[in-house]
Symmetry: C2
Subunit: 205 residues, 2 copies
C-alpha cells in the first residue's frame, strides 16, 4: 500500500533531544584580528574519515553502443523540503569505510548497479559553507555493459523509499524541466552539474 508522504507537524528541536544534527557557536578571529561569532549546523555522525557523505555519478555505458551513455538518478521524498527531490545516489559514509567504498555500496543499494571501477574521486567539497560544516565527495564510477542496459533490484533498507531512473547524460537538463513541472525539486549539486554540461555543449557549437 502506498500513500503520499507528507509533513504532519514541525516544532523546535532542543539540542539535548537532537540525535543527527547539532548547532555550534564558533568564535573566530577575522583578517583584521577582530573576534567574531558565527553559527553553524553540524552533523553528529561524521566518522574518522572526516567526510560526511558521498554522491555517486555512475557512467552507464554499452560496449557495443547499444544505448546512449547514461547515468542513474534517484527520486526521494525529503521531509525538510516536504517534496520529492531528485538527486544523485548518495549517502553517509559508515565507520571504517572510505568515501569510494561508500559510493560503491550506496550505488548498489539505491540502484542495483555495481560499479566496476572508480574513475574519479573529487577532493572534499562543502555543501553550504556559510551555514554548515557539511562536506562530501563526488565519486564517478564506471558501470559498463557488454551490450544492452541491465536492470537490477535495489537493496533498500526497511523504511527507505527510493525510486531510481536511468537518464541519458546529455538529456539531464531536459529531464529536470519535466520534474519541475510536476512539482519535484532538483538537488543543487546535480542541477549545477547539468548546467555545466549544457554550457559546455553550447560553447562547443
Amino acid at each position: 500500500m502506498s500513500a503520499l508522504p507528507k509533513v504532519l507537524s514541525k516544532e523546535e528541536l532542543p539540542l539535548t533531544e537532537a540525535k543527527w544534527i547539532t548547532l555550534k557557536k564558533i568564535k573566530w578571529s577575522d583578517p583584521e584580528g577582530k573576534e567574531r561569532i558565527w553559527e553553524s549546523a553540524e552533523r553528529t555522525t561524521r566518522g574518522p574519515s572526516g567526510i560526511d557523505a558521498v554522491a555517486v555519478f555512475a557512467i552507464l555505458r554499452s560496449e557495443t553502443d547499444a544505448f546512449p551513455v547514461s547515468t542513474v538518478i534517484i527520486e526521494q521524498y525529503r521531509p525538510p523540503i516536504d517534496k520529492f527531490v531528485v538527486e544523485l545516489p548518495a549517502g553517509l559514509i559508515d565507520k571504517g569505510e572510505t568515501a569510494e567504498q561508500a559510493a560503491i555500496r550506496e550505488l548498489e543499494e539505491e540502484t542495483g548497479y555495481k560499479a566496476q571501477k572508480v574513475l574519479q574521486s573529487s577532493p572534499v567539497l562543502v555543501a553550504d559553507p556559510g551555514m554548515t560544516n557539511a562536506n562530501m565527495k563526488l565519486v564517478t564510477v564506471d558501470v559498463p555493459f557488454p551490450d544492452e542496459l541491465g536492470i537490477f533490484d535495489q537493496k533498500l533498507d526497511a523504511g527507505e523509499f527510493i525510486t531510481k531512473r536511468v537518464v541519458e547524460i546529455s538529456k539531464l537538463t531536459q529531464v529536470f524541466e519535466e520534474y519541475e513541472r510536476k512539482g519535484y525539486v532538483v538537488d543543487a549539486k546535480l542541477s549545477h552539474f547539468a548546467s555545466g554540461y549544457e554550457m559546455a555543449l553550447r560553447a562547443e557549437q
Copy 2:
C-alpha cells in the same frame, strides 16, 4: 593590517541563543502511512520570497573576443569550515528583493561587475535536502565588454573579506586543482558545475 583568520573556539549553541539558524523536529508520514521523525536545520532569515539565497554565474565576455569567455569566482574564509572556500558570488535574498535582483546586487558588491541582463534563472534548488531546508537559485547573467575585460572595485561591507578572481570558464577544473593544492576547499555546487562542463567536453571529443 591582515592576519590569517582562524577559529578560536567552538561550543554548543542552544536554540534560545541562535539568531541565524535553528533546528526543527519534523513529524512526517511515510509512503506506508507510518509516522516518522526527521531532524532539520533551517535558516531563520528566509523572507517572503520563500528562497534563502542566490548564487551568480556571470558570463564575462568581450564583443571583440579580446579575452576568452570567463566567469568570476570568490575566495572567502568560512568559519564553519575553518578554511578558505572558493565559491560563486552568492548571498542571502533581502526582504523585498527578487532572486534576480539579489543576484545582480551581490555580483556587484562582491566583484564590482554590473550584470547587463539575466540570461537564466534556475528553479528553486536544494543544497543538502537530507539535513536542511536550505534552498537557492542559480542566476546566470551577461556581463559584456566592448573590448578588454574591465576591472572594478568591490563594494564590500565592513567585516566582509572577499577576494574575487576572473577565470576562463573552460579552465575551472584546472584552477580548482591549484586551489586544492594550497589547502582551499571548493564549494560543491561550483565543483559540480565544472565537473559537468568537463564531462561534456570529453563527450564531444
